[in-house]
């Protein structure tokens, strides 16, 4: 096993550990962690099975096996960012609804208070 492979393996495993620990402590929700866990599974596979990478690169017509990894990493990051955009949009709708409800309730409380006083 080449030194770089060992390094990749260790890196992936420690990141995996970090994510699992974050989930366990409730700092990362499962639904957002799934994408990461999937990514780590792929990374683990790639760092262990160099021949597979070379074979896949060959099949896809990529001469330099490492660029395949870059390509995959790029697509994965794109996917994550897109996923975040969706989550942010959803969150902003939720925040808006909450703030509106709060404002309406506050107005109602104020009225009730004035009515009584």
């Amino acid at each position: 096993m080449a030194a770089i492979q060992l390094l990749a393996l260790l890196g992936t495993l420690s990141l995996l550990l970090f994510v699992v620990e974050a989930i366990r402590r409730g700092r990362l929700k499962e639904r957002y962690a799934l994408l990461w866990l999937g990514a780590f599974a792929v990374l683990l596979l790639l760092s262990l099975a160099r021949p597979w990478v070379d074979w896949l690169a060959l099949v896809l017509g990529i001469r330099y096996g490492t660029s395949l990894i870059f390509l995959m990493a790029f697509f994965f990051l794109l996917l994550i960012v897109l996923h975040y955009s969706l989550v942010i949009s959803e969150q902003s709708e939720v925040t808006k609804r909450l703030a509106q409800r709060l404002a309406l309730l506050e107005a109602e409380i104020e009225e009730l208070r004035c009515g009584r006083g």
């Binding site: 808006k96 703030a99 509106q100 309406l104 107005a107």
Partner: protein, 199 residues
């Protein structure tokens, strides 16, 4: 009155003037503020809502004109238009060109003919206000909501209103912002066309 998280004395002054006030705890944008108004009206059983900008452009005296048109039963949405008749404040030339463009693209996309698609002076009946309380476009809602309501089969009519120059504050849309505004509104209009009408 909906106070969209103002940090000045807006809320206090409105309250002293006797307005029913709803205050957003944070700034949520004009679309959300409008929607809060509709929610308020919906929950309290209002039959109609007339919406005015807070900067003095929309003469409160014209509210009765809009309401009369709404109550005639000819329309579900009545828009106060600056351009239907001559007179009053008509905005700068670049803005008028932008408005012309919006009229053109709205007619192209859904066949609706309007003269003042960015006008925020509107009266809507109970059916429309309950719909907008549930789903209301964000950011720059005026042109988009016209197109959407037209596609949902609501009848939209314009009445002539002489508007004033804004009495205070500055537009939320600056010069470079105008281009952003047009691009964003165009995207929203196209998306609203692609969306199924029965959203």
């Amino acid at each position: 009155m909906v106070d969209d998280g103002s940090s000045d004395a807006t809320a206090l002054e409105a309250k002293e003037a006797g307005a029913l006030l709803v205050r957003h705890p944070v700034n949520l944008g004009v679309g959300a503020a409008e929607q809060t108004g509709y929610l308020f009206a919906l929950e309290r059983g209002y039959e109609a809502v007339v919406r005015l900008d807070a900067d003095g452009q929309h003469p409160p005296a014209a509210v009765s004109t809009l309401l009369a048109e709404l109550e005639s039963g000819r329309a579900d949405v009545v828009v106060g238009s600056r351009f239907l008749e001559a007179g009053g404040f008509r905005s700068s030339l670049p803005r008028r060109l932008g408005i012309k463009y919006l009229c053109w693209i709205i007619e192209l996309l859904c066949g609706l003919k309007v003269t003042d698609p960015t006008s925020g002076m509107r009266a809507v009946n109970r059916r429309v206000l309950s719909l907008l309380a549930r789903a209301q476009p964000e950011d720059y809602p005026e042109p988009e909501s016209l197109l959407w309501l037209h596609r949902k089969g609501f009848r939209i009519r314009e009445v002539a209103v002489r508007m004033a120059e804004r009495a205070g504050g500055s537009s939320s849309i600056g010069s470079l912002g105008s281009l952003y505004y047009l691009v964003k509104v165009t995207l929203a209009l196209v998306m609203a066309t692609l969306r199924r009408a029965g959203r």
